[in-house]
Amino acid sequence: MFAYVVKRLISGVLVVALVSMAIFLLFWYGPSSPAQPICDRETSNRCTPARLEVYERTLGYDNPVYVEYGKFVSGVFGGRTITIASSEYECAAPCLGVSYRTKQPVKEELVSRMPATFSVAVGGAFLYLLFGVPIGVAAARRRGTVTDKALVSSFLFISSIPYYLFALLTWLYLTITFEVPLFSDTGYFPIADNGPFKWFSGLFLAWVALGIFGCTQYTRFTRGAMVEALSEDYIRTAKAKGLPTRTIVYKHGLRAALVPVVTIFGIDFGTLLAGTIFTERIFEIQGIGWWALEAVQGRDLPVVQATALFSAVVLIISNLLVDVVYSVLDPRVRLS
């Protein structure tokens, strides 16, 4: 298994390298110069061709693309000094560049935004599972009954609403229309500065929106996997042994049904960690997702690149973890 993990990590590094190249190329050959937005911003929209040329030269956009990509890679491993027009910025290793808008090193901002995104992801994913799995099991055990049909159809209704609309309506109703005091001030407030209550109430709505929306999917996955597991021959064997129903359903049924659920959860959780753009934007949480959105709007190449790389790394790691967990859950799976 160790060899397998090493092999997967090596291929993961290759994927990250390819992702970084792809993003670099997309910006380089894009319809307008990447230097145009900085030039516009710094000259208050009076960017002359001569000014633009200064920005392009200092940022290296007049060099061949491989030279600049080489500089980026050497910055990641050894740090570098970045020149924008007449100013110089020190960027320590691992250097992911300097934001074209804030002129701050990208890596430090990425690290500072992680706790917000992690808080959103962990809370949301916790609610996914806390509600999704038990409701799915309950529906599977009552398969075909009115309860089952009501649960399945109402959850299908929720999950057919676009998520951004669902999150926006949650926010509108609970903070603006009804002014629920607990939820009125959403956002990320670090525990260290504001205490756990403020942290909790700021994130609570985001968790609820993510949790309710996600748990509808987990209910469906769990229900499906559980219905399948409960119809297996080994469930009949368990019953023939004289085991109590609880043991049959949970120890024999749920144990088997969890494997596909865990697989999907691993990928979903990775996606949440890489940044939840809608959730962070709507609930005003200064996380990685919102940051990525702003960077794309401002054509802030280093930030876009850093957030894309970060999500690639997170997804590769979560995929690897899913495979390892899978082999632990299902003894028939051998990693090689």
Binding site: R236, A240, L243, A256
Partner: protein
Amino acid sequence: MTSVPVTQSSAAAAAAEADGPFLRVEDLKVTFPTEDGPVTAVQGLSYSVEKGKTLGIVGESGSGKSVSSMAVMGLHDAKSAQISGSIRVGGTEVVGLSESRMRGLRGNAMAMIFQDALAALHPFYKIGAQLEEAYLVHHSSASKRDARRKAIEMLDRVGIPQPDRRVDDFPHQFSGGMRQRAMIAMGLINDPSLLIADEPTTALDVTVQAQILDLLQDLQREFNSAVIIITHDLGVIAEMADDVLVMYAGRCVEFGTTKQILTTPEMPYTWGLLSSVPDVSSSTDARLIPIPGNPPSLLRPPPGCSFHPRCVHTGKVAGDLCSTQLPELLPASTGTAHLKRCHLADPVGVYQSEVLPEIAPELLEETR
């Protein structure tokens, strides 16, 4: 006799039960309500099995073999199956018995072995853990260590080599034959008085089949249990069974000792089963004689004898009796223990003059 949680009014009744058959099924009927109407999978079924004896139940898929045995084990979902009649296991009526009392019997007084051991064993738990679980659920005072010792002992008993090591294997690490042995070990771990083997050798290759059947016979002698073996293979019946119950469309169509059924069958469906057995000693050009047609729909069973649409002998019965009136299960000509459900007036004559010459001409010489 194995101790069975039985509530009985008097010791005399217990003594009477101990002498009588361990399992007695009377007028069993199993119906499944479906969207298209009720499907009666088993009806009017009666049989009994004594300890130390083996009953073979033969029939095509869908004839009600497994459904009736699962009713004995109480494995049908109460919501989807309606069961009536009487099933007495060691004197306890199990039809309508509470789920908790039923749980005490299952896997304890009676156990079941299923046909596909790979599917019937849980893929995520070790063989040992699955055996221990079966032991512990009926021995609440036993320790985990006792259960493990018992599991190893049972694996050894069914002929698993190095049982103390293989006990920690998962089912997928066992071969097909070993999995079925482990399944048998699990069935017998609580020393049940009734063992139901549902096509225990169907998924195995022929040499392993013979080993498994031998093992079952040895264990039966050792544990003196009543055994029901469900199969569609008359070879298995010939080897294992004392009595044979032939089922068709949910009913018993013929019942007798194995010798009676195999040598003097009196029901055309049984003839059909015998005709479709391949004979390894015959020439390779010899053709099997299949039973024409398909098993009937249990949703809309044919009127009269349910076999009549496929029966080639209906012309020998006066009028349209076969298609209008269900034949009673009546004693056959060879004795009162031999029962058949057929309108034919002279089944022995028809068998000897028409069926036997086609399927086994050499046997005809012997019987004359």
